[in-house]
C-alpha cells in the first residue's frame, strides 16, 4: 500500500516518476517530495516519466512536473524531462519561460520589524510631501490675492458651490442636534443643583468655542474633503493632471489653491451658520425642560458669550477648512492610478482630516490656555 503512494523512485542518478492510471493526484502538489518517495535531494540530471497507457493529462499533471523542475533543477543546468508527451512538454516550456527568478523565489516575506520600518518610512514620506504641499500653497497665496494665479474661475465657483450651499442642510442638522443634546444632558444634571439656567452657558461656550468648528469641519471632511480627494485621484488616473503638467501648469496652483482658498473662506461662514443652529437647538430643548422663557435663555447666552469665544471658534474654522481641503487634495494627488487608488485616497483623506482636526484642536486648547483666553 505504502509503495503505491510513492510515485518518485530515484534510480542510478535519475528520478523515475510513475504516473498513475488516472494521472497525477492533485493532492501531491501540496505534499513534500520526500513523502512521495524522493529519499535523496539529488542532484538529478534527468527525470524519466513513465506515463500510463492512455494518459489524459490536465493542469494538475502539468503543475506537478513544473514543480519538480523548479525544485530539482540544479543551479545553472537544465533538468531533462524524458518520456513526456510532446504537447505536455511544450506546455511546461511555457511555464518555464514564465518562472520567477531565483532571487524572487528565495525572497522571504518581510518580518514585523521590516514592515514597521517600511510603514514608518512611508509615514515620514507622506508627512514630508504634505508639508511641501502646504509650503507651496502658502507661497502661491500672494499670486492668488493679486489675481495672478493660473486658476479657472468656473472651477472656483463650482468648488464654492459644492462646499457651501450644498453643505448647508447637513451643517444645520448636525449642529442643531448637537446643541439639543448638550442642552438635554446639561439640563438633567444642572437642574438637580438648581442651576438650570447655566445650561445656556454650557451650550453657548461649548458650541461656539469647541464643538461647532470641530463638528462642521468633520462634516466637511466627510463631504467636501472626500470629494476633493476622489475628484483629483480620478483626474490623476485619467492623466488629466499629467495633461496640466505637460502644459507647464502647476497642479497645485490649478487644482489645490482654489480648493484651499474656497474652503478656508467658507468655513468661517459655515461656522457662524452652524453656531446659530447649535444655539437654537439648545434653546429648543432647554426652555421646555427647565421652564425657562426664550428671552431669559437668550439673555443668559448673551452674558456667557464674549467676542473672544467667537474669534477663537472662527479662527479654528478657518484653519480646519484649509486643513480639510489640503488633506483631500494631498491624498488625491498622491493616489495610485486605479479605481482602488481612488477609494484608498478618499478613505485616507477623511481619516487623516478627522485626526488632524482633533490634533489641531488640542493645539488650539493649549495655546488658548497659555494665552489665558
Amino acid at each position: 500500500m505504502e509503495t503505491r503512494l510513492k510515485p518518485l523512485r530515484p534510480q542510478a542518478g535519475e528520478l523515475v516518476v510513475a504516473v498513475p492510471e488516472n494521472g497525477i493526484d492533485p493532492s501531491w502538489l501540496a505534499r513534500p517530495l520526500a513523502q512521495l518517495g524522493l529519499e535523496e535531494a539529488g542532484p538529478y540530471a534527468t527525470v524519466r516519466v513513465q506515463p500510463p497507457a492512455s494518459w489524459r493529462w490536465g493542469s494538475a499533471d502539468a503543475a506537478f512536473f513544473a514543480r519538480l523542475v523548479a525544485e530539482l533543477q540544479p543551479p545553472g543546468r537544465k533538468l531533462a524531462l524524458q518520456g513526456l508527451p510532446p504537447e505536455l512538454d511544450k506546455l511546461l516550456a511555457l511555464a518555464r519561460g514564465a518562472a520567477p527568478s531565483a532571487a524572487h523565489r528565495s525572497a522571504k516575506p518581510p518580518g514585523i520589524r521590516a514592515r514597521l520600518g517600511v510603514a514608518a518610512l512611508d509615514t515620514a514620506d507622506e508627512a514630508r510631501a504634505f508639508v511641501a504641499l502646504l509650503g507651496e500653497v502658502i507661497l502661491l497665496l500672494p499670486r492668488f490675492l493679486c489675481a495672478r494665479a493660473k486658476i479657472r474661475r468656473a472651477e472656483l465657483v463650482e468648488v464654492l458651490a459644492e462646499s457651501s450651499s450644498r453643505a448647508l442642510a447637513i451643517v444645520a442638522v448636525t449642529n442643531l442636534l448637537m446643541g439639543a443634546i448638550l442642552a438635554f444632558v446639561g439640563a438633567v444634571q444642572l437642574k438637580t443643583f438648581g442651576a438650570g439656567i447655566y445650561v445656556a452657558n454650557l451650550v453657548g461656550i461649548a458650541s461656539v468655542r469647541e464643538l461647532t468648528p470641530i463638528l462642521t469641519a468633520i462634516v466637511l471632511s466627510g463631504r467636501t474633503g472626500a470629494s476633493f480627494a476622489a475628484r483629483i485621484a480620478t483626474m490623476q488616473g485619467n492623466e488629466e493632471v499629467d495633461a496640466l503638467t505637460a502644459l507647464k501648469v502647476s497642479a497645485v496652483e490649478f487644482l489645490v489653491l482654489p480648493r484651499v482658498v474656497a474652503l478656508g473662506l467658507l468655513m468661517p461662514l459655515l461656522y457662524a451658520y452652524g453656531c446659530a443652529f447649535a444655539l437654537l437647538g439648545g434653546l429648543a430643548v432647554a426652555t421646555p425642560l427647565l421652564d425657562l422663557s426664550a428671552t431669559a435663555y437668550a439673555a443668559q447666552t448673551q452674558l456667557a458669550l464674549k467676542p473672544v469665544q467667537f474669534a477663537i471658534g472662527g479662527l479654528k474654522a478657518l484653519v480646519f477648512g484649509g486643513l480639510v481641503a489640503l488633506i483631500g487634495c494631498h491624498y488625491g494627488l498622491r493616489a495610485a492610478r486605479s479605481a482602488a487608488g481612488v477609494g484608498a485616497a478618499t478613505t485616507s483623506a477623511v481619516v487623516a482630516a478627522i485626526v488632524g482636526i482633533i490634533v489641531l484642536d488640542a493645539v488650539f486648547a493649549v495655546c488658548a490656555n497659555a494665552l489665558k483666553v
Binding site: 493660473k150 479657472r152 468656473a154 472651477e155 463650482e158 483626474m235 485619467n238 492623466e239 488629466e240 499629467d242 495633461a243 503638467t245 505637460a246 502644459l247 507647464k248 501648469v249 490649478f254
Partner: protein
C-alpha cells in the same frame, strides 16, 4: 536638423532602469515612433521626454525652447469642461492670443480634427475616437512644434484608427510639426512613421533604430524582425 535629441537617456522607477542609454535624434517634420514589447518602457520614455518624470541619467534636448503638445493614451480631457473649454484652457492659462480671439482659434482647431459642431459637448458624451480627436485639438492649442502621441490608436476600431493616422499625417504636412508617437499598432506604424526606435523589454535597451520597412527586412535583432513582420502590409 534635429528637433529633439535623446542623449544616453535612461529611464525607470526608483533604482530600477526600464530602458538604458537611449540615444536618438528626431528630425524636423519627422514622424518618429517608439516601438517595443509590452512593459518595455515606451510610455516611460515618452514621459521623460515631456518632463513628467526626470531621466535617471542622460539628457533630452529640444532645439530652442521646448514647445510641444501631448495626446495622452485615453485623451485625458478635463471632464468638467466642454470640448471647446478643453481646447481654450491652455490658451487661457498661457495667455496666448487676445482673449476675444481664443474661441475662434479653438473652434478652428476642433474643425481641423473634424469636431466642428461638437464644441459644447462634454467628454463623457463623446465616442473614443472623438475623445482622441478632441484631445488632439487640445494638444495643438498652443501651436506646438512637436506633437507627442501616447498610443493614439489604443481603444479605437481599425477604421477610427486609420482616420486618426490620416489626420496625424495631414497635421504634420499642414502645420509642419514633428510627431513622436508611442505605438504597438504595426498597421499604424507602417502607415505613418518615417523612422522608429525599438525598445527591448528584456534587454532594457534599444535594439534597432531606422525605417520600419527596412528594419523588418534587415534588423540585426531577430526579435525586431519578427515583431515587424507580423503586420500585414
Amino acid at each position: 536638423m534635429s528637433v529633439i535629441s535623446l542623449q544616453d537617456v535612461s529611464v525607470g522607477y526608483g533604482s530600477v532602469a526600464v530602458q538604458s542609454r537611449v540615444s536618438a535624434q528626431v528630425g524636423e517634420r519627422e514622424i518618429f515612433a517608439i516601438v517595443g514589447d509590452s512593459g518595455s518602457g515606451k510610455s516611460t520614455l515618452l514621459r521623460a521626454m515631456i518632463g513628467l518624470m526626470p531621466p535617471q541619467s542622460g539628457r533630452v534636448v529640444f532645439e530652442g525652447a521646448p514647445s510641444f503638445g501631448v495626446l495622452f493614451q485615453n485623451g485625458a480631457l478635463w471632464s468638467s469642461m466642454s470640448v471647446l473649454e478643453n481646447v481654450m484652457l491652455p490658451m487661457d492659462l498661457h495667455g496666448e492670443w487676445p482673449r476675444a480671439a481664443r474661441p475662434a482659434l479653438a473652434r478652428f482647431k476642433l474643425a481641423l480634427v473634424g469636431l466642428a459642431g461638437s464644441e459644447e459637448r462634454y467628454p463623457a458624451s463623446l465616442s473614443g475616437g472623438m475623445r482622441k480627436r478632441a484631445a488632439l485639438a487640445r494638444a495643438l492649442a498652443l501651436d506646438p512644434k512637436v506633437l507627442f502621441l501616447d498610443e493614439p490608436s489604443a481603444g479605437l476600431d481599425p477604421l477610427a484608427s486609420r482616420r486618426l493616422d490620416e489626420l496625424v499625417l495631414s497635421l504634420r504636412d499642414g502645420l509642419g510639426i514633428t510627431v513622436v508617437l508611442v505605438t504597438h499598432e504595426l498597421e499604424s506604424l507602417y502607415r505613418i512613421a518615417d523612422r522608429m526606435i525599438f525598445l527591448d523589454g528584456e534587454a532594457h535597451r534599444p535594439v534597432a533604430l531606422g525605417v520600419p520597412a527596412e528594419l523588418a527586412r534587415s534588423a540585426e535583432s531577430r526579435k525586431v524582425r519578427e515583431f515587424l513582420s507580423r503586420a500585414s502590409r
